[in-house]
Point group: C2
Chain length 142, copies 2
């Protein structure tokens, strides 16, 4: 999604367009991988030296709630964000922590596979998470 479309969406939902929010949206769009809050903060502070982690978390929460980004629970205490909200899976390397996108062929099928007794459930998201060791980490002896 274009930055101006994201901003228009937020505006239409009653959010104020602050420079910090715009900066973070831009950072996420320009970021290659799957940054965590800390990483977003480090980029944001270059633009707004006074920005705080609280604001980063605040903005990320808004963006997630509005479906503009997706949060990935990588491990016990660390979440990463993905600005690609189209259905796909993730491979998380237990060693280096990097996150890789994986296609998700069976998305539609998985969305329909809730057993009968759970038909009243409302599914809002579906996550497919592979964990293991990436090829780079496999090469390193330790």
């Amino acid at each position: 999604m274009e930055i101006k479309d994201t901003i228009a969406l937020l505006k239409s939902r009653g959010y104020r367009i602050t420079p910090q929010r715009v900066a973070i949206i831009r950072i996420l769009r320009d970021h290659e991988g799957h940054p965590g809050a800390e990483e977003v903060f480090r980029s944001a502070i270059q633009v707004y030296p006074n920005i705080s982690m609280a604001t980063v978390y605040n903005v990320m929460e808004v963006l997630e709630k509005e479906g503009i980004i997706r949060a990935i629970a990588v491990s016990k205490n660390s979440r990463r964000y993905d600005s690609n909200v189209k259905p796909h899976g993730h491979f998380i390397c237990d060693n280096c922590g990097r996150v890789f996108d994986i296609p998700m062929k069976y998305y539609e099928a998985c969305m329909k596979e809730l057993p009968i007794e759970l038909t009243d459930f409302e599914v809002r998201s579906l996550e497919l998470i592979y964990k293991g060791t990436c090829s780079d980490c496999k090469k390193k002896p330790l």
Copy 2:
């Protein structure tokens, strides 16, 4: 798996069989749902009033490492444990936090669906996580 088999397995891997470990294994076997560390602790303390959270975490880590249980990242700071290690997915209710087991028909297929550029990756686990609202929570107005 039978309790005595679990114990035999741990013993064969060089772990000591302490009464705390046996108690926790028993608690997990008797537990219906998907308890968190706190819940396991509350049960364990009935049997061993001196047991500490550190021990619970220690035991859970051993059990997870040895493939006896599975950890599920429910949300930012909360993990649940599942003593059913056969491939299946989970539905997590965003409202009440309960975890429901979901069959996973495409497990084998998903395990094989890594794209060519990721063929050197070693997959150790696969998680399918549905999130949304369970039927009970949908009934309650708020």
